[in-house]
């Protein structure tokens, strides 16, 4: 695959510039859907709604969420963070199923260490203060572990009628609410290049042979670090590096495997946004970045869009009518004036949002988009997720409830 020829993969699951969500979910070739976008745009809800809809249409689905709102988590039976997929009760249909899990990044990291190091070495690593901090608070570990878990779930198989088959035929991933929505693409590379870095290699190297040439410079460096951080810091660090060294190769390999899984034909990215300048800007950036990285994009979901009623009253007419009814008119004049003001306000909001979407559309004409109207309240249960699913698929709300 050539790196300089970016592909915005718009596949057959789009029609008339709109994502054909049901075709996307029905396509058995789609095995992974990654939902990404900036914070606060409804990624988790979109992921859960897509997963539920796919399950009720007969697929064996797992949704991997990072930090769901409490009540949405409860509605899916996610009462504890135990890093294991649990069946969601209340899913309709006989053939499909939905499991949900919440990522525990520390536990996922611990499991990787335990799987790849001898018990004695694993113990050493798990107790090192550097490891503890790295696995519980390093900005990027969450992203890295989300991708690690995705790889694991995708590789899991169960005994089936025709021999071993995949445990899940569709995994929907909700990406972490990071500093930048793109961190999860960069985290594996950043982490492995750091762990693999020259400095850490040098710290491990005995001062002989060609390394002696470097040791003067290194002495200066470690001296500086000791001064700034205290000697214990370096000792702990060296212990950590020594114990971790054997895992380096494995980590880099895994990061590369995850990266190519994200580029693979069975993966589709769904960029999620809200019709506001900052979120749409981030979505734009994301779409471009995915194209640059050869990651297959299914399209853009714009959440919480306010549709305007189409009954021939423009914002200007509503405002003018309201002004006249406030001063004089029939008994229902004042209340009608206020209703017209509400309408004018809604029309202005809809207009602003349409402008945001149009700007995105002109910059990325080939990206299929679906707008999901705002619901009066937050989604807390499976029925709410079904409604969102209907709206995503462009079906009348209630057609699947």
């Amino acid at each position: 695959m050539s790196r300089d020829r970016p592909r915005v993969v718009i596949d057959d699951s789009s029609r008339d510039g709109r994502i054909d969500v049901d075709a996307l979910l029905a396509d058995r070739g789609t095995e992974i859907i990654v939902c990404c976008g900036s914070g606060g745009v409804g990624k988790t809800t979109t992921s859960a709604a897509l997963a539920l809809r796919a399950a009720e249409q007969g697929r064996t689905v797992c949704v991997l969420t990072i930090d769901p709102a409490r009540r949405l988590a409860q509605s899916m039976g996610l009462t504890e963070l135990d890093n294991t997929p649990r069946p969601v009760a209340g899913v309709r249909g006989d053939t499909g199923s939905l499991d949900a899990m919440m990522l525990d990044m520390k536990r996922t990291f611990d499991e990787v260490v335990e799987r790849h190091a001898s018990p004695e070495k694993a113990q050493q690593i798990l107790q090192n203060p550097f490891y503890i901090a790295l696995s519980s608070s390093f900005a990027g570990t969450q992203e890295y572990m989300a991708m690690e878990k995705l790889g694991q779930l995708h590789a899991e198989s169960v005994a089936g009628a025709g021999g071993a088959e995949k445990r899940y035929d569709l995994i929907v991933v909700d990406t972490p609410p990071s500093r930048s929505a793109l961190d999860f693409l960069d985290a594996p590379e950043r982490l492995s290049s750091l762990l693999d870095g020259r400095f850490l290699k040098l710290l491990l190297m005995p001062a002989k042979g060609p390394a002696r040439l470097l040791s003067a410079g290194l002495g200066l460096v470690t001296g500086a670090l000791n001064k700034v951080l205290g000697a214990q810091f370096l000792t702990d660090l060296q212990g950590f590096i020594a114990a971790f060294d054997t895992l380096f190769g494995g980590f880099r390999q895994r990061a590369e495997a995850t990266y190519s899984l994200l580029q693979a034909d069975e993966t589709r990215f769904v960029v999620v946004a809200a019709p506001e300048p900052a979120a749409m800007r981030e979505a734009s950036y994301f779409v471009e970045r995915l194209a640059g990285e050869q990651m297959p994009l299914a399209g853009l979901v714009v959440n919480r869009v306010h549709a305007d009623a189409d009954d021939g009253i423009t914002a200007a007419a509503a405002e003018a009518g309201a002004a006249r009814l406030r001063t004089a008119g029939p008994p229902a004049g004042p209340v009608t004036a206020e209703l017209l003001a509400v309408r004018a306000d809604r029309l202005a909001v809809a207009d602003r949002e349409r402008h945001q979407q149009r700007a995105f559309g002109s910059a990325h004409p080939s990206v299929p988009t679906v707008a999901v109207p705002a619901l009066p309240s937050d989604v807390h249960d499976l029925d709410g997720l079904r409604q969102i699913g209907d709206l995503l698929a462009g079906q009348p709300v209630g057609s699947s409830t």
């Binding site: 900036s38 914070g39 606060g40 203060p129 550097f130 901090a133 608070s137 390093f138 900005a139 990027g140 609410p177 500093r179 950043r190 982490l191 750091l194 870095g197 020259r198 400095f199 850490l200 040098l202 410079g217 290194l218 200066l220 460096v221 001296g223 500086a224 670090l225 000791n226 001064k227 700034v228 951080l229 205290g230 214990q232 810091f233 702990d236 506001e276 009623a309 009954d311 021939g312 009253i313 007419a317 009518g321 009814l325 008119g329 029939p330 008994p331 229902a332 004042p334 209340v335 009608t336 206020e338 209703l339 017209l340 509400v342 309408r343 306000d345 202005a348 009066p376 309240s377 937050d378």
Partner: protein, 319 residues
């Protein structure tokens, strides 16, 4: 003269307008003769985008004049520059600083070494807050556009991250000085939210987390407030079905609008009432937090410099 530079830390859930509120607060604090620094720590260049200027460097630049005539400076803090500056300032590590970079140590310290990144970011703020310019502090106030609510306590509480790592030495001492500043009465951590369930829940959780670590919580800023368009009389009329499509239709016709729109307008009105009810519930939740609450309107034209001045006026109570 005050005996410390005020520090205002502005946090909030993504999408609530944290950067806008931080900028408006900085302008509001810039009264006559006062100097305020607005800084960001996440490498997002949100301040530059907001003020429509080129990306900010690691240097303090004057970016605006407050409505009261004071000056607002801006600074984008990145951990790499902060570390090099720190090493130069305290250890005169010009050459060794470069060597550190060559060995990938700067990269290491700022990305992987636990907690060091946050010590550097908050450490720069500490340095600015203590800096003197003649007989007075260099700035009267610092406003930090901080990480989001979900990460703010961990970000400010740099000591806990370093515990067990840098047990002694200047980094440890630095972390302790920073904690003293963060817990001082001159520091205020403000939380920005909108009147929706999820951001409000996060705000309440955030306040509890901050209080548990004895970090001083300031105001709750409710952003993007829509004006209430329906009066109490109209609410009663709509809820009791005292108005119906017929009378609204007549009123519409009297001003030359189609009577057929009446049903849609009534639906729109009831939806607006439901929205207001939900918002009132969230307001109640916020006032239950016991923290002073300030509301900022949603401005129709979006956010530009004029809008920032307008919002700055609304934030006068936070001075």
């Amino acid at each position: 003269m005050s005996n410390a530079t005020e520090l205002h830390v502005v946090t909030g859930k993504g999408g609530t307008g944290k950067t806008t509120v931080a900028a408006a607060l900085a302008m509001s604090l810039a009264g006559r003769g006062r100097r305020v620094l607005l800084c960001e720590v996440e490498g997002r260049q949100g301040i530059a985008q907001l003020f429509d200027v080129p990306p900010l460097p690691y240097a303090e630049r004057k970016i605006a004049v407050g409505p009261g005539g004071g000056e607002v400076y801006a600074l984008a803090i990145d951990p790499e520059s902060a570390l090099l500056e720190y090493l130069q300032m305290f250890y005169r590590l010009g050459r060794a600083g470069k060597a550190l970079d060559r060995f990938g140590i700067i990269d290491f310290a700022t990305t992987i070494a636990p907690g060091v990144r946050d010590v550097l970011l908050t450490g720069k703020v500490y340095e600015v807050a203590r800096r003197r310019d003649g007989g007075r502090f260099a700035y009267d106030a610092i406003v930090m556009d901080a990480p989001p609510t979900g990460r703010i306590t961990r970000f400010l509480n740099v000591n806990s991250e370093l515990a067990g790592l840098a047990k002694v030495g200047p980094i440890k001492r630095q972390a302790e000085s920073i904690m003293t500043m963060m817990r001082a009465t001159s520091t205020h951590v403000h939380l920005v939210t909108v009147l929706e369930e999820m951001p409000v829940t996060e705000t309440i959780d955030g306040i509890a987390d901050l209080e548990a670590e004895k970090l001083p919580v300031g105001h709750v800023v409710v952003n993007l407030i829509r004006p209430a368009l329906l009066s109490a009389e109209s609410r009663t009329a709509l809820e009791s079905d005292a108005v119906d499509a017929r009378v609204v239709g007549q009123a519409l016709e009297s001003v030359g609008l189609p009577a057929t729109a009446a049903e849609g307008l009534l639906d729109g009105g009831r939806a607006a009432l439901r929205r207001e009810d939900l918002e009132r519930d969230q307001r109640d939740v916020l006032s239950g937090s016991g923290r002073p609450v300030i509301e900022l309107p949603r401005l129709a034209g979006g956010i530009d410099l004029g809008a920032l001045y307008e919002l700055a006026g609304e934030l006068e109570d936070m001075r």
